[in-house]
């Protein structure tokens, strides 16, 4: 089962590799991971996607908590949350006439052309991971030159927020 975890951790060198090490040492794959500093620069906020049953998830959550650098871990999977991922998708269109095709798909998926050269177009798409998958599938007749994705970001809906206080 797909799991999405939100992690607040000390913004220190080595924090990210502690998290990465934990997963590899316990034989669990990280599907995607994004991490950046928060407005409070002493903290970093991570969104991490992995796969596993309830037992694996319980153990991963506990192990993450056990890392001295980790302040808070929240499993977003079970709760109401917003997920967004961004992708940059470079396509070589079949022919000039295909631009309409691209613009039609962009309109459906709220895509935007970020760069263009001859027949190579780079689209910028923001949405859920499924929407990005669908965008790529919709452009399947054209040559996919390169795709780069951020992996999902996750945040709880409503007033809930990941904060230091949660841990105390």
């Amino acid at each position: 089962m797909r799991r999405i975890l939100a992690v607040l951790l000390e913004n220190e060198s080595g924090s990210l590799s502690r998290v990465a090490n934990l997963f590899s040492a316990r034989g669990i794959n990280i599907e995607s991971l994004t991490v950046t500093p928060t407005p409070d620069e002493t903290l970093s906020r991570m969104t991490l996607v992995t796969f596993g049953d309830d037992r694996v998830l319980e153990q991963v959550t506990k192990q993450l908590h056990k890392l001295v650098d980790v302040v808070t871990v929240v499993d977003l999977t079970g709760q109401n949350h917003v997920e967004r991922e961004m992708a940059l998708i470079k396509l070589r269109l079949r022919d000039e006439g295909s631009v309409d095709d691209l613009q039609r798909v962009n309109k459906i998926y709220r895509g935007r052309i970020a760069d263009v050269s001859a027949l190579c177009y780079t689209s910028e798409v923001v949405g859920t991971s499924e929407e990005i998958d669908a965008y790529i599938a919709a452009m399947g007749e054209h040559e996919l030159v390169e795709v780069v994705r951020t992996g999902p970001l996750g945040i709880a809906r409503g007033e809930q927020a990941l904060s230091i206080r949660q841990n105390q």
Partner: protein
């Protein structure tokens, strides 16, 4: 000249300390002040380029004692022996590069057995980090998977807080090793010294008090038990909960078994104690585990050497699991009532709850009747033919009787370790010092050094084998330097006994590389280091030899017992078997 210079240095130090508010100290001096603040007055280590400033300052002062080992692995094991036998945080100081990598085995050992250590490693200058400099390794990277935490100190102003945090993290919650990596330039930069009172860590707050609701639920389950068993581990010793454990056990009247790491937490001579459990545990302990309906696990982690095949483990039991480390709970085996907290606090709360009068304690006499039947198998029994070869168990039995069960005993890893665990009835915690989780051959002798230094007037025995002892035998030199009168009981069967046993059972007795050829003459070897060496070859000589060994109070004695090479450890739960599938002999 030297002594005059030392004296004047000390005078300088005195002058400096007269005005600590403004006097700048260099990083090496600050390092020593931090150790003194932590009360860490014994350091095990080995010098090298990156830590020379620190060693220079160590040389100028008298508050911190430095014990020079012969290999960095020995320093870490010695610090483990010191920590395990005292409950204090053990301290290690080694240089960068090979100093740090040699320490890794010991660090991993301490991590597996939850031993509180702070290991200081020298590092190349900050400007050289990442340049593949001489004796540079990424110590923080190498040790990351086998430490509770590690810290690279990048500037001298960060050093006091790093040390404060290291000791705090190592010694609280589930204890463990913390590595502090200190680049050489940090030890020469100057700064006014002040030591923080608070480690100030928002992200590290171990849960110590058990949840009141969980404790009530546990008490309810206990009150309804028919076939209960208490299974306690090293966590009880770490937490200092042995008295609370004894009180809880006596109040309930339940049978209790200890893990290898938990021996001594409950008196081994008590009638409620049904011996160690697990792969080489007693028949009654393993059968009682298998048939139990309520399992009360305290400070134990359901290691594979305990559980055997998980789907055959405790099939009828509801599990109460008390542990300070939440990740130990339901990791290998599902707990029905998890209680996160310090063993001492939780046991006290649980005992109070049961005393409260709300619960009547169950009658467990029929259950005891069954356990006593199982115990009749006498599964640790052995036969000593006084005209035959020396049985290793006989040596340990004699050692137990002659020391009254009151010695500190360290061991290496293998058959001899299991026999000590089976036959030496520890009645106090922190007396049995061995490598359980990592199973590190070479642990015993350096660990005994740490124990002896912490307890200079006590009897310290190192039970070992001719294979294990050779992995850290260089420490005989350290023992000589510091006059450590350790008694080495070498059970010499000319095999890596446990490897040979597995080859007997599972590889049709093909003894691939388990034969110890070209052994040294241990008597001469001991003598060459300035110790007493003895060789004992006949059963009738065992008892008088042990008397003589124990009477040589001021000397290290290396006693080489030539034992039966075919002896195996029984009972045994083969890997992949369940508790009710023991091989008895």
């Amino acid at each position: 000249m030297l002594s005059v210079r030392l004296l004047s240095n000390r005078m300088d130090n005195l002058k400096q300390s007269s005005n600590p508010e403004t006097q700048e100290l260099n990083g090496a001096e600050i390092f020593i002040r931090c150790l003194v603040e932590e009360g860490a007055t014994t350091v095990f280590g080995y010098p090298g380029g990156a830590v020379l400033h620190i060693y220079d300052e160590l040389h100028k002062q008298q508050e911190v004692d430095h014990i020079l080992v012969r290999h960095e692995q020995g320093a870490v094991h010695a610090a483990e022996g010191y920590a395990k036998s005292t409950g204090k945080v053990g301290v290690v100081l080694v240089t960068s590069g090979p100093g740090a990598t040699n320490a890794v085995t010991g660090i991993a050992d301490a991590y597996m057995d939850s031993v509180p250590l702070v290991v200081f490693t020298g590092q190349v200058r900050t400007a050289l980090i990442g340049n593949d400099a001489f004796q540079e390794v990424d110590t923080v990277g190498i040790t990351r998977p086998c430490v509770k935490h590690n810290i690279l100190v990048k500037k001298v102003e960060d050093l006091p807080l790093a040390v404060k945090r290291a000791f705090h993290i190592a010694g609280t919650g589930r204890p463990g090793p913390v590595v502090v990596d200190i680049p050489k330039d940090v030890t020469e930069q100057s700064r006014v010294f002040s030591y923080p009172q608070d480690p100030d860590m928002r992200s590290y707050q171990p849960t110590l008090e058990g949840h009141a609701g969980q404790i009530k639920r546990a008490a309810k389950l206990i009150a309804k038990a028919e076939r209960p068993i208490i299974y306690s581990g090293g966590g009880v010793i770490s937490s200092g909960a042995h008295e609370e454990l004894a009180e809880f056990t006596r109040l309930t009247g339940f049978p209790i078994t200890n893990t290898l790491m938990g021996l001594g937490a409950f008196p081994g001579t008590d009638p409620q104690f049904i011996q160690m459990l697990g792969m080489h545990g007693s028949y009654e302990a393993n059968m009682a585990m298998h048939h139990s309906d309520v399992l009360i696990a305290v400070g134990a982690r359901f290691d594979d050497r305990i559980t055997g095949r998980l789907d055959g483990f405790c099939p009828y039991a509801k599990v109460i699991h008390v542990d300070v480390d939440p990740s130990s709970i339901s990791k290998n085996f599902r707990a029905h009532i998890p209680v996160v907290g310090d063993a001492r606090k939780v046991l006290r709360a649980l005992t109070d709850e049961l005393r409260d009068g709300k619960h009547s304690l169950p009658d467990v006499s029929p259950w005891w009747g069954q356990i006593r039947e199982w115990a009749k198998k006498d599964s640790f029994a052995y036969q000593q033919d006084m005209d035959g070869e020396i049985k290793p168990q006989y040596v340990l039995d004699q050692l137990y009787q002659q020391t009254g069960g009151d010695a500190f005993v360290t061991s290496d890893v293998g058959q001899h370790q299991m026999w000590v665990a089976q036959l030496y009835k520890f009645t106090q915690p922190r007396r049995w010092i061995n490598s359980g989780g990592l199973g590190t051959m070479g642990f015993g002798l350096p660990a005994a050094m740490g124990v002896q230094l912490a307890h200079p007037d006590e009897l310290v025995c190192c039970v070992t084998g001719e294979a294990s002892i050779q992995m850290c035998i260089q420490e005989l030199s350290t023992c000589r330097q510091y006059g450590l009168p350790i008694k080495i009981i070498n059970l010499n069967n000319r095999y890596m006994g446990m490897v040979r046993q597995w080859q007997d059972f599972f590889y049709d007795s093909r003894y691939a590389m388990s034969y110890m050829d070209a052994l040294p003459d241990f008597v001469k070897l001991a003598e060459s280091y300035g110790h007493v060496g003895m060789k004992i070859e006949k059963p009738k000589d065992v008892e008088p030899a042990l008397r003589e060994i124990l009477s040589l109070k001021d000397r290290l004695v290396f006693a080489d017992f030539i034992t039966d090479p075919r002896e195996n450890v029984f009972p045994m739960i083969a890997p992949g078997a369940a508790h009710n599938e023991m091989i008895l002999s």
